[in-house]
Point group: C4
Chain length 253, copies 4
């Protein structure tokens, strides 16, 4: 196969047809499959069903991904930016190429996690991050991302307001509840756990104020939590509304 | 009664008056009644009040629904698409006719569930699904459905983003909490239960992280949950706003 | 004082100045005070501080309200609709006059609740309902109510969708969880309690599914709950946006 | 250094360059640092790591803030409004200057809290309130604040509706649940704790109704809670949408 054809099949931006090239479609499906299996593998009851199967599957996926990585490295020479050895080095350190590398590495780091359950779980998490490779193939984001981007300033402000409310309600509950519940409200960072659960209206209920004053502050925090949800929602609604209308106007002209 | 009159009374699209024909109004009320009784019947304390009543009522409803089904099958001959035996067969396998059949079948499958509590409950669920028959009579959906439809792409994207966040937060909590809470966070699929409860801000609190690092990740997840709610809300708000304005403009011209 | 002056002071629509007449301002404050005291009175620790005070205060408020009621009945004769005895009877059975009566009655029904704690609490609730009398004085609603009213159809539809989802998720959890948790999921009406807490994202956590299949259905329900919140929010946002723009346009012309 | 230069460096409104002057940038960073350390200091495990460090750091911050306070007092003479001794006194009692003073005071009130854990915690809270000093440097608020301000009326109304719902649902649960759960629902103010947790959809689950009637009322309350969230969100969305469009129109002209 000629290198130019290979480049067209591998680089999404070089593909002339609509959607993805057949090769990238296959790669996408493999990434989804590998991630799904990495998720399943974490469950001990599933792992015990076929103890030998999962390392085998992993070896297969990694072999394919290495092969794909080398092909991309070879074919990218078609791109004027990545020609020659210096160009290839530049490609290796480009964003998506690094993501591709990170998708392969966990396999070779497996020996590090030998007999260390935490590192083993961390490696499995890295394996799941292969999903990030799909980002290379996706142009669907843009409309949503643009709407978000146009209101970054307002969204950051509402995050700031939320942060101040979070701190302030934690500090208030620390003042009034620390004496009766030192474990849960003994310091501001500790009270933050309750404060986040309340302001986001998650409300686990594993920690709740028990003093009357604590309940008064908690009630005010819960009500403020509605504002914390309403503000970004309102900003996003307005941003999307603008984005949709602009699109419709552009299409209408 | 002539078949043409019957067809007008039974087929919602053939009725010339406003709303539903008297026959379809009666059928709608019967469907609501049958569903309400099917719901009540699941409660043992209610069932024990009149053990013989519920099978009797069910037999009555099914008799009426069979009679209605046969009438519809006869009257649909007025419709040129469903004329003759081949046409009647085509009608039997049309969407709403199949729904009508599903509303009758559970009665005759009752013997299958003999002495099997799970199947019995499943049959009762099927009986409640009769409510779906009301969909045939309803044209009120369209405005809402159109608004949803016009933004399918954006809504799917936000579902995708939510799915990735769900996976990622599950994986993070699996990494940091699996050692201390193997039952609840021992695998990614297990951690998913906690992750869904947190990202949707339901927050049951039956499972919560106990390590400091776990609480930090959980806090970030809870805050991200606000975005998960804000995004579809914003998209829907924008979609409805557009739909209402278009309607008003059209009426204004 | 002449009856015409009295009528102007008592009937909000007859008052020529801005806001409320001094008499109605005083009545409003009394209503708020009476409600606040009725709320406080329910707390045993507060009641025990001054056992004799609360019946005395109640007697005072009721005396004033009766006096006010009789004055209104006398002064309303200025209104051509309520002239003469037939007119007065018509006034007594008008909406706001009945509300005024309900605010007085609990006092005279007190003997009914003698030694019956439940009826006593019910009477206290009726006393708090005096707040409804404030509705007579308020014209501030209209803008908000109009925005809600213009989208009644869409809001009802989203309530209908929510109701169906509620029923369906209850029925699903009844099917899969009834065997392991008969108390909480033993019937559809019982499962409804869990279902409401989940779909509204309240999530008490007093009842949660324990089977794997139950958790899968619960997860789907929780995600659907976001839609249940997003839909009315979106509809209201669009309705308010329209209402504000129309107002601004009208003012701009 | 000349007083005019000093004034330009200290007063944000006198600075000609973009953003903040280098001095105010340094002050901002010091405020953030001091607040962060005040938060950390509340945690006993952190405090025990370096028991002597935190009082030392606090002394350092306060020294700097006093020095800054005196410099501001000296330099403000450049402003015609605050010239002379009478002007300086007027400055001392101006809003932001009082905030500056409150940021210094907790240090000198430390002796009051000697051996009183509650007062000590209160002083730490005051120390965190130094964050409020950042408000002096921020003009970023205005767009968000304007959008909120333009709909104050509607937002207050929705707060009022929420308040009435809160009272009403508390009173209903007080009536039906007081007999079985006197601690949690024994009075309307007690039931308010449950009511706030439910209407804001926080749902801790530490208190839930147990009677059938109580669950019915609680379900209605939870559903009403969606409206409580949807209304301010809708109002804010509409307000932001208007604000963004006005800004775009102004820029477009």
């Amino acid at each position: 196969m000629r290198r130019a054809t290979l480049h067209q099949l591998l680089a999404p931006e070089a593909w002339h047809g609509p959607g993805l090239s057949p090769v990238n479609q296959a790669v996408s499906i493999l990434i989804l499959l590998a991630s799904f299996i990495a998720i399943l593998e974490t469950e001990p009851t599933v792992r015990s069903l076929a103890p030998g199967l999962f390392p085998l599957l992993e070896a297969f996926f990694v072999t394919v991904f290495i092969f794909e990585y080398l092909l991309r490295l070879y074919a990218v020479g078609e791109d004027t930016r990545y020609r020659g050895i210096a160009g290839r080095l530049r490609y290796i350190f480009s964003f998506w190429s690094l993501i591709d590398l990170i998708a392969i590495l966990p396999f070779f780091l497996g020996f590090l996690a030998y007999n260390n359950a935490f590192l083993l779980r961390l490696l499995r998490l890295l394996r799941m991050l292969r999903l990030a490779r799909l980002g290379r193939f996706s142009q669907a984001w843009s409309a949503l991302a643009d709407a978000l981007h146009s209101r970054t300033h307002e969204l950051l402000l509402s995050v700031g307001v939320a942060g101040l409310l979070l701190l302030f309600s934690s500090a208030c509950l620390y003042v009034v509840e620390a004496a009766s519940q030192p474990d849960a409200f003994g310091s501001v960072p500790r009270a933050l756990w309750w404060s986040i659960a309340t302001l986001t209206t998650v409300g686990y209920g594993d920690v709740t104020p028990i003093t009357a004053l604590g309940k008064v502050f908690a009630g005010i925090t819960a009500v403020a939590g509605i504002g914390i949800i309403a503000m970004p929602t309102g900003i996003l609604a307005a941003a999307f509304s603008d984005a949709f209308q602009n699109k419709d106007n552009t299409q209408g002209d």
